[in-house]
Amino acid sequence: MGMTMAEKIIAAAAGVKEVKAGDIHTVELDRLMSNDGTTHLTIDMYNQLKEPRIADVNKLVWIMDHNVPCDSVKTAASHKKMRDFAKEHSIRFYEGAGVCHQVMMENHVTSGELIFGADSHTCAYGAVGAFGTGVGCTDYLYAMVTGKSWLLVPETLRFHLKGKLSDGVYARDLILSIIGMIGANGANYMAMEFGGEGLKTLNMSDRIAVCNLCVEAGAKTALMEVDDITLSYLKAHGREPKHCFASDDDAVYAHVYEIDLSTIKPIVAKPHFVDSVVDAKECVGTHIDEAFLGSCNNGRIEDLRVGAELIQGRKVHPLVRFLVVPASAEVYRQALSEGIIDTFMEAGAIVMNPNCSVCWGSCQGVIGENDVLISTGTRNFKGRAGHKDSFVYLASAATVTASAIKGEIATADMI
């Protein structure tokens, strides 16, 4: 019987010829990413082990991104613990380089790898055909110590893409539409696989945006077929694929969805659930206090270009704080060289250093009681961006920027 991409990657990592959904296998991991959201706890557990050891330090990548730069004395203590441990054990360590998944995509991930990340959005790595999955710090520690872990082979939902997104519609609208269609647990425990002719119309930034958000439908991982776009992205970043897996024609899927990209429209996810999606037009006129353009989902140069083009020669609404946060230092520098940062600042945006920012509600930019935020971040859960009684709407870079200009939710065609 044929196998899916997810099954092939797990089979290779387990050193067996064939696996099928529902099997549990012990797998060898290629890479282990952890950030400052949980690493301090991982280190505490590590120090309590009878025989602390690291199986292969070359697999570890630690990235400070959630509270960068540090915002409190308590955070400073957690950060110091992580920084010191990384130094002591010669772990690859980044601070100030950007949001962990963007830094991983720019510097480490390659096709065919199996990667654990102590962050739910690790599924982003599927954009280059790598099996990335989010884990907690105990799983992380076990993998750090042994180099291995156990995995239940997931069933796969196949999304067969055709056509092309219309002008003014973005990958962000596509994945929010899919999450709305299948629901917040529509892919629970499953892999979401994307392929078809339509995939070839999506650039790498689009692909990362799609894969990154799949966990919001409960997915264990997301996987995209490897093609010329993937290979040229890897080459441009100085990497070769480990293995280019493709699903077999007779692979077994839990379900196959056909998605015509030309039918996708600008989307808004309303508070407090990512699957609470509506046509963006239905939210037009909703008051906002803050707008956020950034995150591992939508803070790449392509997203900043969309925002900059809209706001060029215009101003941020006087009653709105518009935070622009490039997803990485590489993105930031590219934006500087293109004059994009200048455009945002000229318009009155607050441009910040690369970090997770208000997407996770525990650093600069958090919103207060009853505040309303429109965001390109990953989640709109109750309290996600600050006060428990605040409201987050999710939308594309275009819709967020248009809203920042208007002072209320607006779509780009209204500017």
């Binding site: 549990i24 009878k50 105990t138 859960f381």
Partner: protein, 155 residues
Amino acid sequence: MGKIFKFHQDVDTDQIIASQYIIYPTIDEMKAHAFESLDAAFASQVQPGDYVVASENFGCGSSREQAPAVLKALGVKAVVAKSFARIFYRNAINIGLPVIVCKDLYDNVNAGEEMELSMKEGIVRANGKEYECTKLPEYMQGILDQGGLIASLNK
């Protein structure tokens, strides 16, 4: 018997423990904030041996292991839900917090009532009735039985 604390569907890990607390140095410093946005009294009222009962997709969202960890630290004996989000489920088992799927319990019990769970039998007893749960796969039950994943490293 333990008291039931009941939560709705799609409870995400930000509700179980909000972002601003997860970077605190220890779980003990975080636990007073468990479920703060949904039930501010939870952390002060829950007693060791009590249960959390929820609807579908409990623990969705962030991979923060602090979510099951604060519940365990407060003495929650188990979480019984119609379904769990994957990462929370795995994290809970890894740290030794029993979690089990029971399709019928949620609609038949109220917050504040008492129940008892036998993980071994996969049965919840409440209101003089028995509710059948979906037993964990042997592999995962094995991790729970040994007290979590790290225990195996210390053998």
